[in-house]
Structures are given as C-alpha cells and as structure tokens.
Symmetry: C2
Subunit: 365 residues, 2 copies
C-alpha cells in the first residue's frame, strides 16, 4: 500500500492520456485493441484500483444503493459481553432458557440478502446501516450522502428526516404502513395471509373457538394481521369479538408469558393464532411443559416463516412472508425510480404463502 496509484500513473506507464485509461475501463470497445492491452497491462502491474469517489463525483452517481433498518432486537445488549479473553474454550451446560444463543432477527437478514442480491445484479453495490439508539438521523444522512437511492425498513426513520433526505435521493419504504403518497413502497399481504390461514382453520379443520395472540400495539404489520383474522371470522358469520385477544410483543418470551396466563385460566381455545412465529414458538414451549397436546388439544399457528418454526416440534404452521423478495423488490423499485424519476409512485404488495404443518394438521399422512 505504498501509495495507491492513479489514472495518471497508469497513463504515464502505458504512454497514453488519462482519458484513454478511463475509456479502457469504462467503454473498452471504444479503444483500439493494442492500446487497450497496453493499458490493461499497466493497470495490473501497478495494482491500480479506480477510486470510486473520484469516479462517482465525476460521473454524478455513486453506483451504490442503500438499505437502512431499525434495530429491533436488542443488539446493544451484546456489547462487549462476549469479548471474554479467557482461554480458548469454555464448556457450559446450556439450559433451555439460558438464552445463550441470541435469536437472530431472521426477518431483516433475509431482506438484506434479497437487497444485496438484486443490487449487485443490477451493477450496484449495497451499503447497509442498522439503526442504533444514538443518532439514527445522522446515520441515515450519512448513508444518503453515499448512495444513489435508499430503502428504509418500516418506520425506522422519522418523517422529517425522510423528507430532508428525499430531496437528494429517491426513497423506497419497505413494509409498514404507506407513508405519504410520495414515496415508493413495497410490502406484503399481511391481512390476506392471516385471513387465508384462519379460513383454512374454519373451513377445513372446523375450528370455531379461537384465541388471538396479538403483536405490539404500535405495529402496523400486527394490525393488518389482526384485521385479516377478524375478516375471516366475519366472512363466515362469526363474531370476531367473541375471541379473546391477548396482547403480546412479538418476542418468544412474551409468547410464553401470555400463554402461561391463558393456561392458568383453564380456558384453552381450540386454536391459538399468533401474530408472529416467535410468539407461537413461545406458546409451544409452554403448552408442551403443561402437557397440552399440539395440535390434538390446541392448534397453534404463527406468521413470518422463520427457520426455527420449521425445526420446532411439532413444526409450526405459519404464513411465510417473501422476505428475500421484499428486499429485491425494494431495490428494483429504486432502480426503476432512478431510471424514470417522473413516473407515478410505486406501490407493491407481495403475495404470501400459508404453510400448513404439524402444529395444525397433525403428523403427515
């Protein structure tokens, strides 16, 4: 790393102008083959790597797409806790509730993958930022200065910041509610998914006695799912208000707590519909501990389609969100916006898939 070489170095070494060096790298066809080879040889020999900053500045685009999301799981906690320098190995008995393995937030991971995949495919790099307490606005701003467009998950950014930043680059909102009419927006069919799942239970499994384990008050996704649940009941002429609604918090732990309360009342429903998989997994934990059969005594369902649900026993019936696609769709929307800034706002709803598994169906036949 003696001092990175520049176009000037390469040009001098190859005996051409810097314009020619630039052309060889960007539009090779415009340069005579012999010249091109000379230049390429110099590039390699000098270990030349073009500066994306200079390139971006001159070309007026960065070639980078941004993805920003809030930090839902308490990543802060992990701090330096695990940085224990004591020896190379430690042997511990890991009890079921010891929480030694932090539940990764699979939702975001998959959105990230999809975004990354699509961005690179389209010839863009991807820059990611996860909101962390301190100064989300600064972070958003920082990313905004580095990219050609930015996707933002749910309600991770205050409106004012979004508006400020959107004066420089296009913004795509992922999931959550549609905010304003100005931003492009991609999301999934929360209500339709929960509706379909509930209807299956109603029509195929003959369930009439439900309890609903809801998400946090302020979750728009949670609200949409709940609407889907109610809609299904109404469509079959049932009173949605007849089903008890328990307020959860999207965490496994909350799922456990709420289910414990439910068990203690002694009034178990035929089916326990959970607003997400984590809570459903928590419910499964508690029901198992109390010797309640799933699905023989109580049917349990989730929402999201995280991997842990497919490894649980019984495996969890759920509604799978196309999270990878969500990321991809966001990037596509952004690129389409970049190409044609005047097109009307994009609003996409991606389809979901109800996955029937043993927690509602019993063992495979």
């Amino acid at each position: 790393m003696a001092k990175a070489s520049t176009v000037y170095d390469v040009a001098a070494h190859a005996g051409v102008s810097i314009a020619t060096v630039s052309r060889v790298l960007r539009r090779p066809a415009d340069v005579r083959a012999s010249t091109r080879e000379k230049v390429l040889a110099s590039v390699w020999e000098l270990g030349y790597v073009p500066s994306a900053n200079a390139r971006g500045l001159a070309a007026r685009r960065t070639g980078v797409l941004g993805l920003y999301f809030p930090n839902l799981d308490a990543m802060e906690e992990l701090d330096d806790a695990e940085f224990h320098g004591s020896g190379l190995v430690e042997v511990v008995r890991d009890m079921p509730d010891s929480g030694l393995v932090r539940p990764p937030n699979l939702y975001f991971d998959e959105v990230l993958r999809g975004s990354e995949l699509e961005a690179w495919r389209q010839g863009f790099a991807l820059m990611v930022g996860v909101g962390r307490g301190a100064f989300p606005a600064d972070m958003v701003n920082d990313i905004a200065g580095r990219v050609d467009g930015m996707a933002v998950l749910a309600q991770s950014v205050p409106d004012a910041v979004l508006e400020h930043v959107s004066r420089r680059i296009p913004i795509v909102l992922i999931a959550g509610p549609r905010r304003g009419d100005d931003y492009d927006h991609v999301s999934v069919s929360n209500a339709a998914g929960m509706d379909a799942l509930t209807t299956h239970l109603l029509d195929v499994k003959g369930v009439t006695n439900f309890a609903y384990l809801a998400g946090p008050e302020d979750s728009p996704d949670g609200a949409e799912r709940f609407d889907g649940f109610r809609r299904a009941l109404e469509n079959r002429g049932l009173d949605p208000d007849a089903s008890p609604v328990l307020r959860g918090g999207f965490s496994r732990q909350r799922g456990r707590e709420v289910t414990t309360e439910l068990v203690n009342t002694g009034m178990l429903p035929r089916a326990l519909i959970c607003a997400n998989d984590q809570m459903a997994l928590g419910a499964l934990d508690v029901l198992r501990a109390h010797g309640v059969g799933v699905p023989s005594d109580v049917i349990v369902t989730g929402f999201d389609g995280i991997e842990a649900g497919s490894t649980a026993s019984p495996r969890l019936t759920t509604v799978r969100q196309p999270m990878v696609d969500l990321g991809r769709a966001a990037m596509r929307a952004m690129l389409s916006r970049l190409e044609d800034p005047k097109q009307p706002p994009i609003s996409l709803r991606l389809p979901v898939k109800v996955l029937l598994r043993e927690s509602s169906e019993g063992p495979p036949s």
Copy 2:
C-alpha cells in the same frame, strides 16, 4: 430531488464561504456560534446532504469499510422462482422435506451483524458484497475502490486478486487458513473447541465408541475441527484411526444421507460427532425416523451454534463460534491497521464455547 444542493448553495444562502460551511459540518467548535446557526439553518432549509464522494475524494478517505464473502448456500437457485405474481395468498401443505424454507446461512449473517455494529460504532459505514458465480474478482475490485479497508471471509477470493487489491487498501482475512504472513487475520479456535467437546464425552460421559461426520475435503475449518477430535482421543491414549470417518458436505441433506448409510450398516456408534450443526440436524432427522434414541442410544453433537440447533428436539449439543465477534474483531483489526499501517500483522484467535444440551446430556435434571 429537484437537483441536490451543494456547499455553494448553502454558502450563498447563509452568506458565508464554502470553507465555513464545511467547517460547521466537520469541526463545529471552530466556528462562531451565530455563524454556525445561520449555516445549519440553511442546511436544513435547502435539504443539503453532503456528497460523500466529494468528501472522500478531498479528504482522501472514504469512511467506509468493506466486507466480502462467498456465497456458500445456493442463493442462485432462488432466482426469480419466488416472484410469482399469482394472487395474494397461496395455501400449501409443507411437508418436512419440501424445503420450502431455505436454510439461511446463519454463519455469515452473524459475521455481518458484528461487522456492521463495529463499523458504525467507529464512525464508518459498511459496504457488503456476497460473491456470486460470475465475476468475484470484479466485485472485490469494485468494493476495494470504495472503501478504506476490506475484510474477506475465508477463501472467497483468489490470491492474485487479494494481492492486487491489497496494494490499495488493507485486507483482513476472516476464518479459514492464514494465508501468507502479510494479511491481518481473525479466526476461531476450531481445534480447541472440538477437542474440549470430545474430551467431555470421553471423560464425563464415558464414551469410547465414536463416529465422525466430517465436512467437505477442502474446508480448512473442517480440517481443524477434525484435528481437534483426533487430538482429544490421542490425549486419552485412544487410537483416532479406530473411529469411522464419514465424509459429509456441511449440509443437512448430506447429514441425512451419511447417517442413513450408517444406520444401514447396523453399526451405530455411541456418539456421532458432526463437523457442523447442519449435518448434526440431518443426523437427528434420520435417527428419529429410525426410532434410535438420542442421546440414550446415540449421542449427537454439532459445531457452530446456529439457532435451529437450540430449537431442535432434543436440543443439539454444539460448539458455539462467536460469529458476531468475528465480524467485530475483523473491523477492529482493520481500523487498527488503518491507524498504524506499519504495525506487525495481526493474528487473532477467538475463543469458542461448548454448549452441552440434551442431545448429549439427556433431559435437564
């Protein structure tokens, strides 16, 4: 997005020079309070977001750290397969082996988190790239031009490319073997972890009859783990060559196949040591299907500490790698290198943790 405003716009609007605008943003203390406020007001009013390109070019640093890793799971397959525009919902019976839920590659996800966390903490943005068949070299090069330093996972990049790129920016190698002596390197204690786990089985559980489910031939991590296994046996005076070694491939499916062969021989060992969790999970699938008790008949162990292992039943005994820390350590090493380019190469081994769970210990007492 009428046309992003620049320092010049802000300077004109606030009635100061561009130098002052720059100072307000970078070293606010150097500017008189009243001036500062005037400028800040203009910044906000004009929706000014500084161009990171111009900034990076002028300041000779990008403020971005890079992370590149290979694409181990077949992400390609997912292609546009899931982009089905048919309706909003689909209901399907998801059989245990239908593979509808792609196993996320948790290893990378956690490294990514750790990197992201540490990078932002230190005031850097993070750019990620996942190698995808086509032109990994181009991608690495592309990232290299955009960042101040780059971390590269395992052997995802050919030596020649690494060398080329390292003439411009510092490179940190994550996991895998230490390549050359020039690069900084962070990894985990594979051998010590497997050694400790095996020793526990030997000394505490009194196991003497093992089978080893190995990783792919070309995996350095796999090789180190296997060494640890052999070392433990040797230390207790046992012949490591007495244990059958089955060649796997780190996938759950391979774990199933190999375990099926093992079951068919009728020669089940007392303990089946797997080189990673995915294979161990596959082994669990097959043993369960054949009515073999775990751990009563056969003890099964994994390596990695992925979440699915802690949700499986029985929960999987494993060696947990500090994957988040791996990412963080890589970023730290990079920053330390950036600060002091002449310091000797960094080589870090992070400690691991043996998690004893029901697949080796039986139900919690």
